[in-house]
């Protein structure tokens, strides 16, 4: 899938993706020659069709997580199906401390995908040298990574 700016005959680059939470998706593409932007809007069925292939329109903002497709889409997943592996302490360049408020926020994520979501947020903080995970950091990460659904 490619988007072409007909006026400039120039390929448009992916700029932004938004998931408003109603099953629809908006993906913004921009022409780097003239700056024109277009938004591709998909209905819930189209969004699901793409999602069922385990791919994201516009490309991935975070690497695909192990069994992401199953975890994100299985209805009736077992709450305690996954248990986190604790890596040895020296393997962690930056220790990310989760504040009670962040833990509370994470607790609202269905437990079937909670481990995967926690890892995404922790990796986000670690890569940026953030030592404390707060709801504010989670909000920023959600926006930066396009994780509106998480």
């Amino acid at each position: 899938m490619k988007f072409l700016c007909i006026q400039c005959d120039h390929i448009m680059a992916f700029a932004e993706r938004q998931l408003p939470g109603d099953g629809t998706l908006a993906a913004v593409f921009e022409c780097s020659a003239c700056g024109r932007e277009i938004a591709m809007l998909t209905n819930p069925m189209e969004t699901q069709l793409v999602s069922s292939m385990g791919i994201e329109i516009g490309g991935r903002t975070v690497p695909e997580q192990p069994m992401e497709l199953v975890r994100s889409n299985l209805d009736g997943g077992r709450d305690d199906a996954f248990v986190e592996e604790e890596p040895p302490a020296p393997a962690r360049p930056v220790r990310v401390e989760w504040t009670p408020a962040a833990v509370d926020r994470l607790g609202r994520v269905p437990s079937f995908v909670r481990g995967m979501v926690k890892r995404i947020y922790t990796d986000y903080a670690r890569e940026r040298g953030i030592g404390r995970m707060t709801p504010e950091v989670m909000d920023t990460a959600r926006t930066d990574l396009g994780l509106e659904g998480m």
Partner: protein
Amino acid sequence: MRKIRTYHEVESQTGDLLVDQIRDQRRRLDGRLAGIRNVVAVGSGKGGVGKSLVAANLAAALAAEGRTVGALDADLNGPSLARMLGAAGQRLVDGAEGVVPAPAACGVRVMSMELLQNDADAPLRWRAPSGDGFLWQSSIETGAVREFLSDVAWGGLDFLLMDLPPGTDKMERVFQLLPGLETLLLVTTPSEMSRRVVARAARLAREQGIPTVGLVANMTEYVCPCCGHSDPLFPGDGVARLAAATGLEIWGRIPFDPRLGEASDRGAPAVVASEDSPSARAFRALARRIAEPREVGEEPAR
């Protein structure tokens, strides 16, 4: 009419963002498969012939002989391998290299939808915003099998046994995930109905170019546990006719044994639970048949 450049005429420095993701999935799958010496698919095309029972007992028999074995339940809608191998209810560790498969008591590493569902008796359902599941369901289920292959930290395996779903359409999708699949066991029973359906699966295997395909005849006879006398369970021998019609060799004949089902229900494969039974002996012979040609000069995987 104005001329708009075609897809192939437009070059993108960032590539195709969708196609590239599909290629990444393929690379991940290939990387994981590189650590597995032999993938053996167990299928039939028909339900109810005992595919899962054969896959579970074969996995346990290979593990009992010192091989490192994984068992992947690709029958997402009717999973049973975890229960049969005694791994039901286990939790999966989210490891650095992927999801760690559940270790069964018999030493087999197991991945099955059974381990992920909250209610073992509930039909498999996917979250969906609308009722148009027919449009995307096969895509997501093929993706789930792909993730079972690529995102599970199988480690080095001598054998990965795959329990295929019934239906030649689903078998074909799994084959497309495994272009290098070398061995397929087609499980059948001596019944005429089974013969016809399995013949279709045999043709599919030939069309897909799978080099080694063997027939496993299940429920061939009933062996009296008291005197050892055996009687056929079905009139005629549909398996021999199937073999003659397809040119496939019969690799094993598994006698009917009520203890097989009973042992499976409590998570103890018959090759472990009743190792001297005729069916256990038949499974061990089948395991040797599969393993021996491949292991000359090979150290077991770790």
